[in-house]
Symmetry: C2
C-alpha cells in the first residue's frame, strides 16, 4: 500500500480516510481505556531500582556524618559535607558552591523567587515594590516554572526555543534594554519537553549577558543532568557557574537540582549551587526559615550512591527502562505519522519527554479527543506562558509512567487522534 | 550554717562572699569546661529511642499507603491519610483539618507569614503593601518566632506572659483598636521558655477575639503538645480550633506541630491544622511550591508509631530521660539559690525549658560570666522581641542536650555565676 500525505489527497480521498479513522476511534473509545501520559512521573519499575536506598540506614548503623555530626539532631543548615560533595559532582560544580535542601528543587526555586520578591537580591529593591516585573520563559518549557512567575504576578515573555537552546539574540536584546526583566527559566540539559541541550555557544552567551537589571538572575534548572537515555549518545553542557565566573558575571546564575528522578520522586534530596555571595544571602534567609533539612535522608542517599559513579551506574538502570518506551513512541511515530506529513517530534538523548508538533491549530483538539477516549495527556498549551501556545501545535508526551503494554495502547490511540484531527482540519481548510 | 539572703548582708559580709565566689569561679574557669545549655536539642539518648523508626521501611516492605498510593512517587500534596490521622490525634483536631508537610514546622510558619506578605490572606490586601504591620509577641517567648516577624520588617509588640498565658486584657484591647496588628505568636502548651500552659479562659478569650484586622491570625505553635515530663502532672489545654468555631471565628487560628522532638530533630514530619477555608488557600499556594512532601517519611512515622498510643508510650520514654535533668536543675536552684533570695524559676510539667529570673539587670552579666568559663547559654534577651529584655532578668535554660554528668557541672557553674553577679550588683547598689 502506498501511503499518501494527507495534504496531497483529494477531498474524496480525505473523506474516506476520516470515515475509517472515526470508526477506529469509536471502537477504541468503546473499550473504556484509562491511560495517563501527562506527567513526568517515574514508573514502578524505576522506583523499585531504589528500594535498597531504604536499607542503608537502620538501627544498627551509625548515623554520624563523616565529620562526626549526629545527623539525627538539629544543625548543619546547609547540609552535610558528603551530600554537598555528591550533588556537586552530579552537577559538575564545586562543593563549596552547594547548599543541600529538602526533597524538592521546585521549592527552592519558589523560595528563590519569593525571597527576591520580599527582600530583594543582594541589596537591590524587593521585586514586590515594582509595578511590573517580567520573566523570560523559553517555550515550549516547564509549566511549573511559568506558574511560579505567574503566581507572583509577573509578566511572562515568550522566548522561542531552538535546538541549541533559547533564541539568544532575543534574550540578549531584551535583558540589555529592560530593567524590569528580572530572570529567565532554563532547563539547559534535555529540556522539558523537547529534550534539547544548550550548545556551548548558548551557555557562553548566557554567562556573558549584560542585563540592565542588576538583580537579573538565570534560573538554571539542571533537572536532567544525569538522565541520559541513549548511553551511546550523551549530551553534555558547559558549566554555567564556571562560564559566569570567566565572564566576570559571578552572581548571575542559580543552579537547581535534585535526585527526585534518580532515587524517589518526592523523597529525594535537592540543592542549589551559586556564587559565594548569592549563597551567603540564601543562608541568611534560610536561618529564619528552618533549623535544618532532613540530614538523615541526605546521609541515606550518600551511603547508597557512595559517589558520582554510583549515580551513573544507577542512571544506566533507569535508562534501560526508559529507552524502550522512548523507542516505542518514536518508532511508532516514524512508521505511522511520518508518511502522512502531519507531525514532527523530538527524539532526545535523555530527559523525560518527547515534544510533539502537530499541524497548526490541532493540539487542543488532539488532547481533547484523546481524553474523550480515556488517554490523559498534558494540557495542550501547558508548555507555554499563560498556557497559550501561539500555534496550538505543541503536545508534551511523557512516556515514563505507563508500562510498555499500556504505553503501546496509549500511543496507538494518540496516533489515531492525531490522524483524525489532522485529516479533519485539512479537509475543512482544503 | 545559717544562710542569709544577700540583700540582708552588710557590705563587709558581701565583700567576703564575693571574694569567695570569685575564687571558686576562677578555679572552674581554669578547668577549661566546654558545656552547652543554649538550645532545645534532644540528647543522644533521646534520639536513640527512635532508632527503630529507621527499620520499619526497608526493601522488603510495601510502600503503599492505606489507600494504595505508592508513597515513593509524586502526588498527595497534602499528605497521606494515615499521617493526617496520626498528627490530628496528636494535636487533638480532626484529620480533615490537617495538611502534612515536610520536616519542619518552622518552615510552615515562615511560609504562612511569607504567603500573607506576598499574596494576602483570603482576599485581604497583601501585607507587603502596608507601610507598617505589627505582630504581638508574648514574652518571654520563642526567639525564632520573633525573628520571622522581624525578618519581614514587622513591628514587634511585647505582651507580658502570665502563668495563664499572655496578658489577655492587653491582647483584646490591642487587636480591637489597631488593624495593622496582623497576628500573635503563641506556644500554648508548655510555653517556650516558661513551660506555662494557657488556661481554659485564655484559650476561650483567644477564640473570641474581635480583631479590627480581618486578616489577623493566631499563630498557635503546639510544639510541645505531647511533651509531658512529669507523668503524674500533665497539662492539657482546650482545642483552639473547636473554640474558634464555637465563637464563630472559623478562620482565626493556624495550628502548627511536628514530631521534631518526638522522633528525630530535623527528620520528622510536621503539619498545620486550620479551617477549611484557610487550608484551601494554603493548598492552592502549595501547588505552586512543590509536587509533594516526603511521603516515605510520613509512612515511616505512621508504621512506627501506629497511633496516638504509640506516641504517648514513646513520649513516656523521653520523659524518663528528661525528668531527672529538670529535677537536677530545680533541686539545685532550690537548695543553692532560694535561701539567698536572688532568683526565681519555673518548674514546668512538660516542654523543653526552664525559665530563670535573676535580679533585675543581671541576666546579660550572668550569661557572659558563664560563657567566659565555658558554659554557653541562650543569649540573655533572646526570649524578648528585638532581643531586648526590659528587666534584663530572663534566662532560658535548656536542660535536654547535656548528659547528667555534664549537666551537673553546668548547673554548678551557672549557680556560681548567678551568685557572683547578684552579690556584686547588690554590693554596688547597696
Amino acid at each position: 500500500m502506498i501511503v499518501k500525505e494527507y495534504s496531497k489527497m483529494s477531498k474524496e480521498e480525505l473523506a474516506e480516510v476520516i470515515a475509517g479513522l472515526k470508526k477506529q476511534y469509536d471502537d477504541i473509545k468503546n473499550k473504556g481505556i484509562n491511560l495517563d501520559m501527562s506527567r513526568g512521573k517515574p514508573s514502578k519499575k524505576q522506583l523499585d531500582l531504589s528500594m535498597p536506598v531504604l536499607d542503608v540506614l537502620n538501627s544498627n548503623e551509625s548515623l554520624n556524618a563523616s565529620d562526626g555530626t549526629d545527623v539525627r539532631n538539629y544543625g548543619m543548615l546547609d547540609g552535610i559535607l558528603e551530600a554537598k560533595s555528591l550533588l556537586a559532582d552530579m552537577v559538575g560544580v564545586n562543593k563549596e558552591n552547594v547548599i543541600v535542601f529538602g526533597n524538592a528543587s521546585l521549592s527552592i526555586m519558589f523560595d528563590t523567587v519569593s525571597r527576591a520578591y520580599t527582600h530583594g537580591i543582594l541589596g537591590n529593591i524587593p521585586w514586590s515594590r515594582f509595578d511590573k516585573i517580567k520573566f523570560l520563559c523559553p517555550a515550549p518549557g516547564y509549566d511549573r516554572h511559568f506558574k511560579i512567575s505567574e503566581h507572583f504576578g509577573m509578566e511572562l515573555i515568550y522566548v522561542p526555543m531552538t535546538k541549541n537552546g533559547p533564541d539568544m539574540d532575543m534574550v540578549e536584546e531584551l535583558v540589555r534594554d529592560d530593567d524590569s526583566i528580572k530572570g529567565i527559566w532554563c532547563v539547559p540539559k534535555y529540556s522539558n519537553p523537547q529534550g534539547y541541550s544548550y550548545s556551548d555557544e548558548t551557555v557562553r552567551r548566557f554567562a556573558a549577558l549584560k542585563p540592565k537589571a542588576k538583580d537579573f538572575r538565570i534560573f538554571w534548572d539542571d533537572a536532567y543532568c544525569v538522565h541520559h537515555i541513549k548511553f551511546d549518545k550523551k549530551d553534555e553542557i558547559l558549566n554555567i557557574l564556571d562560564e559566569c565566573e570567566r565572564a566576570g558575571n559571578f552572581n548571575l546564575a542559580y543552579v537547581f537540582f535534585s535526585t527526585s528522578k534518580i532515587s524517589f520522586a518526592g523523597s529525594g534530596i535537592s540543592g542549589i549551587a551559586s556564587s559565594k555571595e548569592n549563597l551567603a544571602e540564601i543562608k541568611k534567609h534560610m536561618s529564619m526559615q528552618c533549623i535544618s533539612h532532613d540530614k538523615i535522608n541526605q546521609l541515606r542517599h550518600v551511603r547508597f550512591f557512595k559517589n558520582i559513579n554510583g549515580i551513573t551506574e544507577h542512571m544506566k538502570k533507569h535508562a534501560e527502562i526508559m529507552r524502550p518506551k522512548f523507542e516505542l513512541i518514536t518508532n511508532s511515530f516514524e512508521r505511522e505519522l511520518k508518511p502522512l506529513g502531519i507531525a514532527e517530534w523530538t527524539d532526545p538523548n535523555g530527559g523525560y519527554f518527547i515534544s510533539f508538533e502537530s499541524l497548526k491549530g490541532c493540539a487542543k483538539k488532539i488532547v481533547s479527543k484523546a481524553k474523550e477516549a480515556g488517554l490523559v495527556l498534558t494540557d495542550a498549551g501547558a508548555t507555554f506562558p499563560y498556557g497559550i501556545d501561539p500555534n496550538d501545535s505543541n503536545i508534551r508526551i511523557a512516556p515514563s509512567f505507563p508500562e510498555i503494554k499500556e504505553l503501546k495502547e496509549a500511543v496507538e490511540l494518540f496516533i489515531l487522534c492525531v490522524k483524525l484531527v489532522s485529516a479533519q482540519i485539512i479537509y475543512e481548510e482544503g
